[in-house]
């Protein structure tokens, strides 16, 4: 049903000694909202610029709608771009900015007028057509850039951090707006961002990039719930990681023994063949219980002592320390305990428990070095026992 709009085959870009994009293979489907997510310098812009035709790949192949466009100049590709700094033409009115692409294709004056009006309406900028780019706000300039690109009805729209220059509130608003417009026009969007919230709210699928390649590609919930690398786990949110090794199976689960030989369960598919893994769980999946409470059958359990409690309104953040010094972050919704005014207090012994199905395993430090953790995943709880 869905056809492939954009295909990258072994695309590589080298700048001098730097490998900016490293043998990337991607397939973006027709009508999809696809995001490239990653930290600064990981090669997102370079990838996008190669699709747009502003940069030639050092090697590899780029296809649009099945046609090889690797060596075509930008003006011969059915792709349009929304630049991060908008790149509106300062000497032209908003009308002429939006009409620029149509004029290049020699569309008739009357049709241009109608289509520009329709576009300005889509981006809610009616009545701005005679202004110059210097006379509108950042958010409005962003919409003009979008209108100027969309009016050409490209097969694919490329967006390079289009909301980067806006303040937080406007960003949130424009995220929804972009999503609405994308659904309305049904054009494939390839969206570059380093903001994981932005990528998760808007995208159908995300490729999480790191150092010139993507580490994992999938729907937002797949990436969040079942990251396969340490980097992805850390980039998409806070997570707790514990090193261990695979030690048999039980029921439909694999067992992983931690350093202190505690065993945790997790879905078999998660460990597929590896022996040394890091077991992970998101902070909001973990429940805190009294040591004497009943633990649900089959759940993973670890003990610890509350080290820190921070009430944040929506939830309470606990830092729990295990006896071997590993720390765990837990978010608890403010339900019964908050109402009863009995949040866990530092020093209390607790049992941390969560479902095996919420447990994932990431490939260990062999693929992700410390540099990754430093640059991309400050939120990974370092769990080295010492």
């Amino acid at each position: 049903m869905s056809t492939i709009d954009v295909r990258l085959v072994e695309v590589t870009k080298v700048f001098g000694q730097d490998v900016a994009v490293d043998h990337v293979n991607l397939e973006v489907l027709d009508g999809e909202f696809f995001s490239l997510l990653g930290p600064s310098g990981c090669g997102k812009t370079t990838t996008l610029r190669m699709i747009g035709g502003f940069e030639e790949p050092t090697s590899g192949l780029i296809e649009l709608n099945g046609e090889d466009v690797t060596w075509l100049p930008p003006y011969r590709r059915n792709v349009n771009t929304v630049f991060q700094n908008y790149a509106l033409f300062p000497h032209l009115t908003i009308f002429e900015n939006v009409a620029f692409g149509l004029r290049r294709r020699k569309v008739k004056g009357a049709e241009i007028k109608a289509r520009v009006a329709q576009m300005l309406q889509l981006v809610e900028l009616r009545g701005f057509d005679q202004r110059k780019p210097g006379q509108i706000s950042g958010g409005q300039a962003q919409r003009v850039a979008l209108a100027r690109a969309l009016i050409n009805r490209p097969a694919v729209l490329l967006l390079d951090e289009p909301l980067g220059a806006l303040d937080l509130k406007l960003r949130k608003q424009m995220q929804l707006e972009l999503k609405r417009i994308q659904q309305e026009v049904g054009i494939t969007f390839i969206y570059v961002t380093h903001d994981q919230d932005e990528a998760m709210t808007m995208s159908d699928r995300i490729a999480v990039m790191n150092r010139g390649r993507y580490e994992q590609l999938g729907r937002p919930e797949e990436l969040y719930e079942r990251p396969t690398t340490r980097f992805v786990a850390g980039f998409l949110g806070v997570c707790n990681l514990l090193p261990g090794h695979v030690d048999g199976t039980a029921d439909a689960y694999a067992l992983v023994a931690l350093d202190d030989s505690t065993k945790l369960r997790l879905p078999l598919a998660q460990v597929s063949g590896s022996t040394d893994v890091e077991v992970g769980v998101r902070p909001e999946k973990v429940r805190l219980l009294e040591l004497t409470d009943d633990v649900p059958a089959g759940a993973n359990v670890l003990r610890g002592r509350v080290k820190q409690t921070s009430y944040t309104g929506v939830s309470t953040l606990y830092v729990i320390e295990r006896s071997n010094g590993q720390t765990f972050t837990v978010y608890e919704q403010n339900l019964e305990r908050a109402a009863a005014n009995s949040l866990w207090r530092p020093g209390e012994e607790v049992a941390m428990t969560w479902s095996p199905d919420d447990t994932f395993a990431v490939r260990g430090a062999s693929t992700a070095s410390t540099a990754d953790a430093a640059s991309g995943s400050p939120s990974v709880n370092e769990t080295a026992a010492s």
Partner: protein
Amino acid sequence: MVASAAPNHIQKPRGHLGRRLVRSVDRWILPLYAFVAVLYLAIPVLVMIAFSFNDPTGRSNLTWKAFSINAWLDPLGKPGLAQAVTTSISIAVLSTIIATILGLLIGLALVRHAFRGRGIVNLLIFLPMSTPEIVLGVSLLTLFIASTQWSFVPKGTFFPLSFTTILIAHVMFNISYVVVTIRARLQGFPRHLEEAAADLGANEWTTFWRVTFPLILPGVIAAALLAFSLSIDDYVITEFTSGQTQTFPIFIFGSQLRGIPVQVNVIGTIIFVSAVLFVVISTLLQRRQRLDPVEAEEE
């Protein structure tokens, strides 16, 4: 219910000697200084204008005799003057056009493309600006004379000296000023605008005329004006490359011994007034543009 009148903080501080000094500098000395400075700049021009209304009895227009508008009624009425003015204007216009086109192309190449020898070209472009004019004039003359011995140069191309050799000389020194002016404008040019044009379907040619050129146009105009004004009053280099041809500056210099005619002041005044008008008009135009700030994005 207003509590009380605001305390009067905004009293002027008084009495302090230092402050009084500062205030008197503000009020008197700075304006006076500015006035003297402007006068210093304006006096030669004012004298020139005044003497364009003189009626000299002798040959030289150096002492004030009587008011007259004779020279204004017949501004070209001296033998050779009309010819000299026409020559000067023709050379200025031609050398400006040629130098601006060539300079624009050189500027584009220097800023946009990395090619072998770019560093050398960048350096060479400065040469005509930094070499003393008289040295340039002498070496051009040497070159033109030497060219008569080269078999591949058709006889009579560069020698005897002529309108053509003046033009070649003026284009040469003008190019460097044009390149330097346009290069400054191009270096600050936002390249992503050109990428955006290409993205929207404009090929290189269309992109240049629709986006690049309109945006660097102020720089191109500034360069052309500079070239025109450098050419029209050049004396030193022209002296070495003109032969029998007379330009306006050469005419003036030549008539110095016989006595400079009043018409020279008239033409000088006309040039001055045109220049002032031009500056005023372009300032007004720019101010209007600034009101709708088209260039706000360029930073």
